[in-house]
């Protein structure tokens, strides 16, 4: 997939497109270019392609195809869910989000605050970055109408107790909508709406070796109010001429997934352990409740930004925090939630379907060596 000298270990930021998807997208864009709303042959063909993709996405999450609404990505899906569910409320109410949600959730939640809702953040446990269920129990109110809890955190890989959290909030607030961001887990962990107890899930194609610019919401029960007005596509929930090639690739991506969880877990652990052994680094949240493809490692004495650049110069790509923060140097609220406020020595290594044993073994020996050099240089001769 990559030239020998490039080892891409930043699959939580985005993934390389599967060549089979690229080929199919290219075919659809050139041959099946009809507007899916048109009633002629090309339009019907486009609609047919969409129908298949919708079924594939629905199958991947244990839903019905008519519960799937395609969007331009997870950011839009999350904004639509948060703002749209809140818009259905007749008066300002109570919203809970976890303290480690993606900025797309945090920012929309801020807008809800501006609109008069009370939005509170539920903390996570310091040792494993999983939602503190006891505190959740004490925070939920009868009038809580929304809980946003991601399935897998994008910076640490911590798998969240979604099923249990959903049960807790539903018991206290039966009409509360549970929104689950499955961007990192889809295609890797079992994602079943019923089992998760989620009413709405949001997903993205580009974290699954699919294209950027495509995502979806899957909605069980009451639909959010639409964010846009327009030509009525996606049952009015998300109007706009459909991105048929991208949607087709998203469907295919749901089938192919992100790779074998056991292998990915072994690899992330090997990579993390190599840094622990030689640099006295520490894997964060490494346990059975860590998603197999993400490992965050704290390396004392090596600033993450410096580490990322040093490794990139040698063709090894990891990140400091999430990509969305990469160029804006926002403070990671996720690390803060772990009690690592202001920590600037945590890198994230994340794997995907196109990584292989060779890359992992090469990176396991190269990374500690390169970072040791960084640390030595910093300390001076």
């Amino acid at each position: 997939m990559f030239p020998r000298h490039q080892i891409y270990l930043d699959n939580a930021a985005t993934t390389a497109m599967d060549p089979a998807f690229a080929q199919e997208m290219s075919r659809i864009a050139t041959e099946a270019y009809g507007n899916a709303s048109s009633r002629h042959d090309l339009g019907l063909e486009a609609e047919q392609i969409m129908r298949k993709a919708r079924q594939q996405v629905a199958d991947a999450v244990g839903a019905e195809p008519e519960e799937v609404a395609f969007t331009s990505g997870a950011t839009e899906a999350l904004a639509l869910a948060l703002l749209g569910i809140a818009a259905r409320e007749s008066k300002p109410g109570h919203v809970l989000i976890s303290a480690i949600e993606h900025p797309a959730v945090q920012e929309s939640a801020q807008l809800l605050r501006d609109r008069g809702h009370i939005v509170e953040e539920v903390p996570v446990c310091m040792e494993d970055a999983r939602l503190d269920l006891e505190t959740l129990t004490s925070m939920v109110r009868q009038e809580t109408f929304l809980l946003a809890l991601m399935h897998v955190n994008n910076e640490l890989g911590a798998i969240q107790p979604v099923t249990r959290a959903a049960r807790i909030v539903k018991r206290a607030a039966p009409r509360c909508v549970v929104l689950c961001d499955v961007v990192q887990s889809l295609g890797l962990l079992p994602v079943d709406m019923g089992q998760l107890g989620a009413d709405i899930i949001a997903a993205s194609a580009h974290k699954l070796h699919g294209p950027k610019g495509v995502g979806c919401l899957v909605i069980r029960g009451r639909a959010p109010a639409a964010l846009y007005g327009g030509g009525g596509q996606e049952r009015g929930l998300r109007p706009g001429t459909e991105n048929v090639p991208g949607i087709a690739a998203f469907g295919m991506a749901c089938l192919k997934g992100k790779g074998d969880p056991e292998t990915l877990r072994r690899w992330t652990r090997a990579l993390g352990a190599s840094l622990e052994d030689r640099l006295g680094a520490k894997m964060l949240c490494d346990g059975p409740k860590r998603a197999p493809h993400i490992i965050a490692v704290q390396i004392p004495g090596v600033r993450a930004e410096v580490a990322v650049n040093a490794l990139a110069r040698e063709g090894i790509y990891v990140s400091s925090g999430s990509a969305c923060h990469g160029r804006h140097s926002l403070k990671s609220t996720v690390l803060a939630a772990l009690g690592l406020e202001g920590a600037d020595d945590v890198i994230r290594i994340s794997l995907g379907r196109f990584n292989n044993e060779d890359e992992v073994s090469h990176a396991s020996s190269a990374m500690p060596r390169l970072l040791e050099e960084v640390r030595r240089k910093r300390k001076g001769p």
């Binding site: 891409y8 930043d10 930021a13 985005t14 993934t15 390389a16 060549p19 690229a22 290219s26 864009a29 050139t30 270019y33 009809g34 507007n35 709303s37 048109s38 009633r39 002629h40 042959d41 090309l42 339009g43 331009s72 990505g73 950011t75 999350l78 904004a79 703002l83 993606h102 900025p103 797309a104 920012e107 929309s108 801020q110 807008l111 294209p211 950027k212 610019g213 495509v214 964010l227 846009y228 007005g229 327009g230 030509g231 009525g232 109007p239 706009g240 001429t241 459909e242 991105n243 090639p245 991208g246 930004e305 990322v308 990139a312 790509y317 990509a323 969305c324 990469g326 160029r327 804006h328």
Partner: protein
């Protein structure tokens, strides 16, 4: 089969595919990543932004990428309405009666939030007259939004005149240019607009991407919130592939725009002539002879239903009865209704739209097939 539905969507141009291929096959990094692997996608977005800006005579930083024309229109209307209400309490929104649903539906929602939405009528050719606007605009007007060219009948609106009137009253001017960009000259300084919407898939680019021109200095509240991409104006990991495609599409349609317009107009007029020659007074043009998109021919057929015609044309000609997004429901198009087209003609109206792939042979054959379908449907 002959495709005469270019106003609904266009095939992707081969130059656009060529530009996109490297990004389909590689260059996949997230533009927000800090390492050099992300340089290529990041620079590609910069380049595409320049290409879009060049087509409409804007500066690159005035272009925001979106997921398409619908999002651009929604962001422009909702953003401008909220911004002006906050800034100076203005609450009036003025649109024409023939706007795309992506404008109409937003205004409907905004009027439920307390905005005062005024709809300007159009004349029998689908034109909005500046005098109509002068009559209703006031110091309370936040935004005037009139589409540059109509998607169903092709009527081109005098946007520059509307912009002057809007600015005189201190209002902002938006135009939905989804149908005009790449077909006629669409220059933001000539038009004098503050906001302008572009859809990629109408100009031989990919679906799922668009752009919004925001005049420098304009600040709108954003409703796609998240990690701060697009300078904080539109969050979400950039659709690099689509953005590259939109940029290439803008470069593609911008090249020899006028010459292409002349060619397309000749094809369209040939189609019209052939229909008139065969059917005489039984075919009737919707929209003006002059001041119409070179691609668009909306014609009514006497005594038949458009859906019967389209059914008879199945496997031969692909066209539509109105806008694509409404293809499903049979009813009179709101555009034709606003123009006062008699119901019998409106129900028998086809929108035939030509584009880059259309040839003289296509229009000759399509005309024959349409005429045959007409006679079949009538008998």
């Amino acid at each position: 089969m002959i495709y005469l539905d270019y106003n609904a969507t266009t095939p992707i141009a081969s130059e656009v595919v060529d530009a996109m291929l490297p990004f389909l096959r590689g260059h996949f990094a997230n533009p927000s990543s800090s390492y050099a692997l992300a340089d290529e996608p990041r620079e590609a977005v910069v380049h595409a932004r320049q290409q879009v800006a060049a087509l409409i005579g804007a500066s690159a930083e005035e272009v925001v990428f979106t997921s398409g024309g619908t999002e651009s229109n929604n962001q422009a209307l909702r953003g401008a309405a909220r911004a002006r209400r906050q800034q100076d309490g203005r609450k009036r929104l003025i649109t024409s009666a023939v706007e795309h649903p992506a404008v109409m539906e937003v205004c409907r929602a905004l009027s439920a939030e307390g905005f005062d939405w005024v709809v300007l009528p159009v004349d029998a050719e689908g034109r909005v007259h500046p005098a109509f606007l002068r009559r209703v605009i006031d110091e309370d007007t936040a935004l005037v939004s009139v589409m540059h060219a109509n998607n169903e009948v092709g009527t081109i609106q005098p946007i520059a005149e509307f912009a002057a009137i809007a600015h005189e009253a201190g209002a902002w001017m938006h135009t939905d240019a989804a149908q005009s960009v790449g077909k006629i000259s669409t220059d933001v300084s000539d038009l004098g607009v503050d906001l302008l919407s572009i859809a990629s898939h109408k100009i031989y680019g990919p679906k799922g991407v668009g752009a919004l021109y925001m005049r420098r200095g304009l600040e709108l509240p954003n409703f796609m919130l998240g990690a701060g991409q697009e300078n904080g104006r539109r969050a979400g990991t950039e659709n690099v592939l689509g953005i590259v495609g939109l940029g290439a599409a803008c470069a593609h349609v911008g090249c020899e725009l006028e010459a292409h317009g002349v060619q397309l107009q000749a094809l369209r007029d040939s189609l019209h002539e052939r229909l008139k020659d065969a059917l005489g007074p039984e075919v009737r043009l919707n929209g003006p002879m002059e001041g119409r998109l070179p691609t668009t021919l909306s014609v009514g057929f006497a005594g038949v239903r458009a859906h019967a015609l389209l059914a008879a044309l199945e496997g031969e000609v692909m066209a539509s009865a109105g806008a694509a997004c409404k293809s499903g429901n049979e009813g009179i198009s709101t555009v034709l209704k606003a123009m006062g087209v008699p119901e019998s003609w409106a129900l028998g109206t086809l929108r035939l739209s030509v584009g880059e792939g259309t040839t003289e042979e296509d229009v000759a054959l399509a005309a024959e097939q349409i005429v045959a379908a007409f006679h079949g449907a009538r008998s």
